[in-house]
Structure formats: C-alpha cells, structure tokens
C-alpha cells in the first residue's frame, strides 16, 4: 500500500466542503439534504481511513462508519417524510418559505 493517508484525507475534505457549500447555498431542501449526505459520507471516509492507517488493529472507525451509514439512512428517511409533508401543505420546498415553522 503506497498511497499516503493524506491523499484520502484531502479527497474527503474537498467532499466535505462541497457538501458545506451546497448546504449553505442551495434553496431546495432536498438539495440541502443531498449536501448533508455528502458531508456524512466524507466523514465516513475519514473514519475508515484513520482506522485503517493509524490504528489497524482496532475496529472503532469501522463500526462508526457502519453506524453512521445507518443513522444517515434513518435521518434521510425522516427528513424526506417531513419534506413530503411540507410539500403537501405548501406546494414547494424552498428553504426561504419555511421560516414560518419558527412560530
């Protein structure tokens, strides 16, 4: 194995910030969710990579990745349920229009 760990980290960092950028700028809630998925994914890569390169004998990173995937699946499911509900009520899912939720 001759690829340095930093390479992986760089890739995941770029992915992370692509997600952040999307989260900050997109107006569609679904697009924002997709950005969140990107971020989660990049974190997953970091978990795995740290585990593999720095602590190969142990499995924390590995399992956290597994759990994170599970959690993100759950989160996505709930979020999409909420979104569809909002869509039913308001006929769009633009983020600016949803500040009425704050009371």
């Amino acid at each position: 194995m001759n690829i340095p760990m930093e390479y992986y980290l760089a890739v995941s960092t770029i992915m992370m910030f692509a997600g952040i950028y999307g989260f900050l700028t997109r107006r569609n809630l679904l697009a924002m969710l997709i950005s969140v998925e990107l971020m989660l994914n990049s974190v997953d890569i970091n978990f795995a990579v740290f585990n593999r390169f720095l602590f190969p004998g142990e499995l924390e990173g590995f399992f956290f990745t597994v759990f994170a995937i599970g959690v993100s699946a759950a989160e996505t499911a709930i979020a999409i349920a909420i979104l569809i509900n909002i869509y039913r009520n308001m006929r769009n899912i633009q983020v600016e229009n949803i500040n009425e939720l704050n009371g």
Binding site: Y7, I14, L24, I45, F67
Partner: protein
C-alpha cells in the same frame, strides 16, 4: 510514488469523487444532483474496497447507493413542481457560501497536510467477516453490541416517526 494499479485506481476514484461532489452542489437540476451523488457514493465504496474494508464497501453500496439514493429520486419526483425552473441561487449567498467554504477548505487542508500523522506499519489484510460479527455482537471491551442496539432502536423510532409524519391527516 510509482504508478501502480493501486495508484491509478485511487486517482480515478478521487477524481470522480471530487468532480461529482462539486457537480452535485452546483448543478441546477435536482435530479442531476441526485445522480451525481450516486456516483460519489459509488466511488466512496470503491475507496473502502481499496483500503480492504470490503464489508464496509458492501454496506455503502447497499444502503447508500441502493437505498437512500432511490429514496431521494422518489421524493424528488414526488415534490417536483412544474413552475419552478431550476434552482436559482442568490448571488450574495453564493459569495458568502463560497468564501466561507474556500476559507474552511484551505484551513482544513492546511491542517490536514501539515499535521504530523504517525501511520503505523501494518499488513493490509482483509478483515474477515467473523471478526466483524463477533465484535458487533460482543459485550466485552472493543465490542459494540450497545451502540448496535441503540442504532436499531433509533431505526425503529425513525420508521414509526416516518410513518406518522408522512401519514395524511
């Protein structure tokens, strides 16, 4: 670094991830974004395979690429409104987001690349599924039955919540 197959594969995966990530967040059409996300997820699975976490790669492919993406596509189609042509972005928001993002990116890359990691020398063996199973179900040190149970309850709660929320009143 010699151009072994490993390297070429990695470079390919990295390119796909970077390009597709950026395309995901910059494309105007939401369906395309989902598609690009799918590519990113596939490539991530490739990364897992490359570092010999094939179980993880499989999970990634199954849940993310298989499940979640399909969910996205469905919900996109469900909430697609004819009136809205694309997703026009506010330029001030883009500038602010871009600035923050680039600054953060620079900072993080700087830290990542300058931090003296001490990689241990290891053998790149495949992680056998038996070890994974025992660790996941065991109750000893470095074993993960408790988080496993917590996650399962979380998933259950999500299922119930999802049904409740999405139910027509």
């Amino acid at each position: 670094m010699d151009f072994s197959l490993q390297t070429i594969v990695f470079l390919f995966l990295a390119t796909v991830i970077i390009v597709c990530s950026i395309l995901t967040v910059t494309t105007r059409k939401i369906l395309r974004a989902a598609t690009y996300l799918l590519f990113v997820l596939f490539s991530t699975a490739g990364i897992y395979f490359q570092i010999n976490y094939s179980f993880l790669g499989a999970v990634q492919l199954l849940i993310y690429a298989g499940g979640i993406t399909v969910l996205y596509v469905f919900s996109i189609l469900l909430t697609y409104s004819q009136r809205k042509k694309g997703d026009r972005l506010k330029s001030s928001k883009v500038v602010a987001g871009l600035t923050a993002t680039l600054a953060g990116l620079g900072l993080c890359l700087f830290i990542t690349l300058t931090h003296p990691f001490t990689p241990s020398h290891f053998e790149f063996g495949e992680l056998d599924i038996k070890t994974i199973g025992f660790s996941l179900m065991g109750m000893g040190k470095y074993q993960y039955v408790l988080p496993f149970e917590v996650i399962s309850i979380l998933l259950l709660a999500c299922i119930i919540g999802g049904i409740l929320i999405a139910r027509r009143r």
